[in-house]
């Protein structure tokens, strides 16, 4: 028979604090703690703090193994050209900046890249992206402020096909998923991209701010409905937020996490590492 060892109240408390305090959320935290209890139930003596920390790090790493996919994105496409990467997310999450960083990585990977500025709404959005395109050394097709974003997508993709571009990255306006007309606009952008290239976007990246709490789950669900999100980029992990929301995102929605943003410079985008992430959360 098993020894049935359970967690001490103090250990339980400190585990809860790490998990909840990292935005892992109640449901996922409870599940993780139950798993840890199973892991220690047959121990002959009480686990030390260090042992529990190791267990927790391993557990988190295992839950996030749906990482990767960034190498494919950075090398020239194997299939049809151009590869179309659509970047979406709520206001201020870091989409425009991330696109500059991503384009730079793709250039290093030997690609000819075109950036499409389909945020025709926000003040100075086109100018901001144009500066990033210049920094990354890639071509830029922008719209006019107040214009139709779908027509920028149409023009950029047509130009990319004519120029033999490897990858087109499309920047879109920040939008709250609660705004139905804006989500409809996003669906239209996806449709128009499909019409020009004859297939849906190859990659739809949801850019999430690491400081976001439980709303990130709602964002991921809603954006997935309108734009078939294929991967996540978590920005602003250079702050003190732990981005624990990645755990329920990974376990409940199965979304691969491709990159982490670690700053405001062009080089501040790194491939997601479950081990590094777990270490950052647990210590």
């Amino acid at each position: 028979f098993g020894l049935g060892r359970t967690l001490q109240a103090a250990d339980m408390e400190s585990l809860e604090e790490i998990l909840i305090g990292s935005d892992v959320g109640v449901a996922s935290s409870e599940r993780i703690i139950k798993d840890l209890e199973k892991a220690i139930s047959a121990l002959p003596s009480p686990p030390t703090q260090d042992f529990l920390a190791d267990l927790l790090r391993e557990e988190i790493t295992a839950l996030l193994s749906a990482a990767g996919g960034h190498q494919v994105l950075e090398s020239p496409p194997e299939g049809s050209r151009p590869r179309v990467v659509l970047v979406v997310g709520v206001n201020g999450s870091g989409k425009t900046t991330t696109i500059g960083k991503l384009a730079a990585r793709m250039v290093k990977g030997g690609q000819k890249v075109l950036i499409a500025g389909a945020d025709t709404y926000r003040a100075a959005a086109i100018g901001q992206l144009e500066i990033w395109a210049r920094r990354a050394g890639v071509d830029f097709v922008g719209g006019v402020e107040g214009g139709d974003p779908a027509s920028v997508v149409h023009d950029a993709l047509s130009a990319a096909m004519a120029k033999g571009v490897d990858t087109v990255i499309i920047d879109t306006a920040g939008r709250l998923h609660t705004k139905i007309p804006l989500m409809k606009e996003l669906e239209k952008i996806v449709r128009v991209a499909g019409k020009v290239t004859g297939r849906p976007p190859d990659s739809v990246l949801l850019v999430l701010d690491a400081t976001t709490g439980q709303n990130a789950l709602v964002q991921a669900r809603e954006f997935s409905r309108s734009a078939a999100v294929s991967g996540i980029i978590l920005t602003k992990m250079d702050g003190t937020a732990k981005g624990g929301i990645l755990i329920p995102l990974s376990t409940e929605l199965g979304l691969p996490i491709l990159y982490v943003g670690l700053g405001e410079g062009i080089g501040d985008l790194v491939p997601f590492s479950p081990e590094e992430f777990a270490k950052g959360m647990v210590g």
């Binding site: 201020g92 870091g94 709250l176 609660t178 709490g213 602003k236 702050g239 732990k242």
Partner: protein, 292 residues
Amino acid sequence: SLAEKLESVFKKLKTRGKLSEADIDASLREIKLALLEADVNFKVVKNFISDIRERALGAEVMESLTPAQQVVKIVHAGLTDLLGKSRSSLARASIPPTRILLVGLQGSGKTTTCAKLAKELKEKGSRVCLVPADLSRPAAVDQLVTLGKKIDVPVFAFPESSSSLEAYAKASLEAGRAGCDTVLIDTAGRLHVDEDLMKEVAALARAAAPQETILVVDAMTGQDAVNVARAFHERLTLTGIILTKLDGDARGGAALSMRSVTGVPVKYAGVGEGLDGLEPFHPERIASRILG
């Protein structure tokens, strides 16, 4: 909603007759879960629950025919008290111009909020001007200049300045010459753990000596809100918080966390991308929103 969850908790319990302390703790657990799911900070939730526990064990609940309703009342009152009285007035300088400094993390909505406040104050009769002191983000100055044109408020931009301090100093002279009585200063987004950038904004605050130093925070911010608010408050002495993007469906628990930990009042709510998307902060409304 929390009210419904508590009803079902008490329904199970009331069938046994009198309520016990354990029953109350069962209801408090539901409240704890609701607050955590609303992004209220873990430690703030713990303190809040222990504060209301005593009242929840009192006669008003234990002897009530509708204990769930009584508990919801206590929680709602507790949250509204914690969030403080609605206080959206802005301090004015005894000798004009009034200076208002907006600070916060990257992407929280400072630049947009700066223009929204300018519009609001102009409509109330102030001679407002805008100072773009973010020289680092690409096209940040253009962004504020564009917004200023939209609302016909002068923007004194010196993007070639070598520092935000210099940009502010030059703008401040222009504002004086133009007869502005209210100067709104937009700053670059920064991390509270970036020592250089925190030093920079502290120096700007010393030079500008603003009547209002406002932390602009995204309503979807999670557990990290207390760290951010505490750090900015310790370095700058905040006079207010503006919670943005409340037109989304984030519950906004960060409001409770920040207010409870720093005592700084939330003065306005950002409720849209347009420049009319600003309204006074209503504590009872956010309390209901947090409780779902």
